[in-house]
């Protein structure tokens, strides 16, 4: 079991805290979404885990060991930090080859990940001729190269076309299904909801939430049911009598705030009202996220006024 453990991690750049006493554990077997607006400290945290930046204080370990102490680390952790980082003058194949050789990975892995990411046909082209989406695929190929139990991907869907986004979603689900630890950062909330089982939410370097995606949405959004019945008037009267707030959606359905489908269904069944349509309205992750940050009014106001996001180096 290889997890990423971050304890009391703090990183300051010239007096600005990019990461502020962050503690969390990213567990294997599920996709963990790493959420937060630009400048929240997601990329910095990933660089700290990889030992690329030195923490001001605190520790970050992978499987209980600091990254720098891992022998042939690509076999343990695959990371995509910045798809633009690959040198444009190399071919995709050479880029993967020098990484594979240095970590004594078998040469066939290079061809395998090129195939897996759909780059086999352009393997001998220089990276500078690649589109953003192709570079992104190469970055993912790089992360997969060592067949690692831990994957850490910073905005992997960036620049991918719709087909690519579906592909990465399936890939992430599959990797987690194989028991790997998968940490995926994003500032796109709804995109993340499509593949993340668990969420770690950052705001200005601090931990705002660390919980399952479903709980996150439940906690930060009010439930709501949309229902269409054969006898809408009677259903409305009954629901109002039971204390539910009922409003029309202008389309012949009732919207019941603060209720769940099973409650409304039970009421209708007891009254013998035929229900034609009944469904929970899941609040989107985006709404839940905005609700969370709105709770932190100080955060929302300060984030727009403070220079934090503009002075953070290399924060994407």
């Amino acid at each position: 079991m290889t997890s990423i453990d971050v304890k009391d991690l703090t990183k300051e750049y010239g007096g600005t805290r990019a990461v502020d006493r962050l503690t969390c554990t990213v567990a294997p077997g599920r996709v963990t979404g790493f959420l937060g607006p630009n400048g929240a400290g997601k990329s910095t945290t990933m660089r700290l885990v990889l030992g690329l930046d030195r923490p001001t204080s605190g520790t970050a370990t992978v499987g209980g060991r600091p990254y720098a102490s891992l022998g042939e680390p690509l076999r343990t952790v695959g990371a995509l930090l910045d798809a633009q980082a690959a040198h444009g003058s190399r071919t995709a194949r050479d880029h993967l080859r020098f990484l594979a050789v240095g970590n004594r990975l078998p040469a066939r892995r290079v061809d395998e990940v090129l195939d897996e990411t759909g780059l086999a046909a352009v393997a001998r082209r220089r990276i500078r001729t690649f589109s953003l989406g192709m570079r992104q695929r190469l970055g993912i190929a790089t992360a997969l190269l060592g067949d690692p139990p831990v994957l850490m991907l910073d905005e992997p869907a960036n620049g991918l076309d719709p087909e690519g986004i579906v592909w990465i979603r399936h890939l992430l689900r599959r990797l987690a299904g194989e028991g790997r630890t998968v940490l995926v950062s994003s500032h796109l909330m709804n995109e993340t909801a499509a593949f993340a089982d668990h969420l770690v939410v950052l705001g200005r370097g601090r931990l705002l939430a660390d919980l399952p995606t479903r709980d996150f949405i439940d906690q930060h959004s009010r439930p709501r049911v949309r229902v269409r019945a054969a006898d809408p008037t009677r259903l409305r009267a009954t629901l109002l009598a039971k204390g539910f707030a009922v409003a029309g959606d202008g389309d012949g359905r009732w919207v019941v705030e603060g209720a769940r489908a099973e409650q409304v269904g039970a009421v209708a069944a007891r009254e013998g009202i035929a229900v034609l349509e009944l469904g929970d309205e899941r609040a989107s992750l985006e709404q839940a996220y905005l609700a969370l940050t709105a709770d932190q009014a100080e955060f929302a106001a300060a984030a727009s006024a403070s220079p934090v996001s503009s002075t953070l180096p290399q924060e994407a």
Binding site: R47, L50, G51, L52, D53, R54, Y67, A68, L70, G71, E72, P73, L74, V77, A79, L81, D82, Q84, A85, A86, H87, G88, S89, R90, T91, D94, H95, R97, F98, L99, V101, G102, N103, R104, T142, Q314
Partner: protein, 244 residues
């Protein structure tokens, strides 16, 4: 981590970037081209102008050193375009090992090409000189050939160390090349004896049959080696201390 594997990986990196592999080949190609041009045309006319016979055979090394500096600088600077260094250090997180491997590969490649270049320019150039030709048996000639190869290696390492420090080939090239082409001569006239201890002047002592004052041939090379070592140490310190 396997040291051999990391060395091999660094060699693939140099091979696969046009700028660095191209400058490595240019050390040989440019020198050979200049040798052919110069010695085939004005070689005999210049041969008896009273200069140092051995030093006269290494005119083309002036061009080789520019290419060697470009090689050292570009072999390192490809780590500083975009975030390439982050990818490299994710694969080899021990920075000392990463640094040593890159330096060793730059040194070996420069030494191999440098030695071949030095012997080639000497032998090819002399082939045009007819009665004025000297052979490897000439006192100081063999020393100069081996010394020229080492000199080119040290200049490449000087550039590599400075590039780790300054993170830009452009910065290093615009510092070192004008220094070698102009400053060294201008300052040489002003500074007198001190100029003989500049990295280029000191190292080139080994190219003479009779070094014209300053440190001797091997001491001169040692002085250049100290310059290169200082640059490499400064580069190592920077790589260790900086966030990647």
């Amino acid at each position: 981590m396997s040291v051999t594997a990391v060395l091999h990986s660094e060699w693939i990196k140099i091979r696969s970037v046009r700028a660095s592999f191209g400058s490595l080949l240019a050390v040989f190609a440019a020198t050979l081209a200049i040798t052919l041009l110069v010695y085939a045309t004005v070689g005999r006319a210049e041969a008896d102008n009273g200069g140092d016979a051995v030093f006269g055979a290494f005119y083309a090394i002036n061009f080789a050193q520019i290419a060697a500096i470009a090689f050292g600088a570009t072999a390192v600077s490809c780590e500083y375009t975009g975030g390439a260094l982050r990818i490299s250090l994710s694969a080899v997180p021990r920075r000392g090992l990463f640094y040593a491997a890159k330096t060793a590969v730059v040194a070996s490649a420069a030494l191999a090409v440098g030695l071949v270049t030095a012997f080639t320019t000497f032998l090819v150039g002399q082939a045009f000189l007819g009665p004025y030709a000297i052979g490897l048996g000439e006192p100081g000639a063999l020393r100069a050939c081996v010394g020229a190869g080492i000199y080119l290696t040290l200049m490449a390492l000087l550039a590599a160390g400075l590039t780790f420090l300054l993170r830009s080939a452009v910065a290093v090239l615009s510092l070192l090349i004008p220094f070698i082409l102009i400053a060294s001569f201008v300052a040489g006239d002003v500074a007198g004896n001190a100029a003989a201890w500049f990295p280029d002047r000191a190292g080139q002592q080994v190219l003479y049959q009779h070094p014209p004052g300053g440190p001797g041939p091997w001491t001169g090379l040692a002085v250049t080696a100290l310059w290169a070592a200082a640059a490499l140490l400064a580069g190592l310190r920077a790589v260790h201390r900086r966030d990647a």
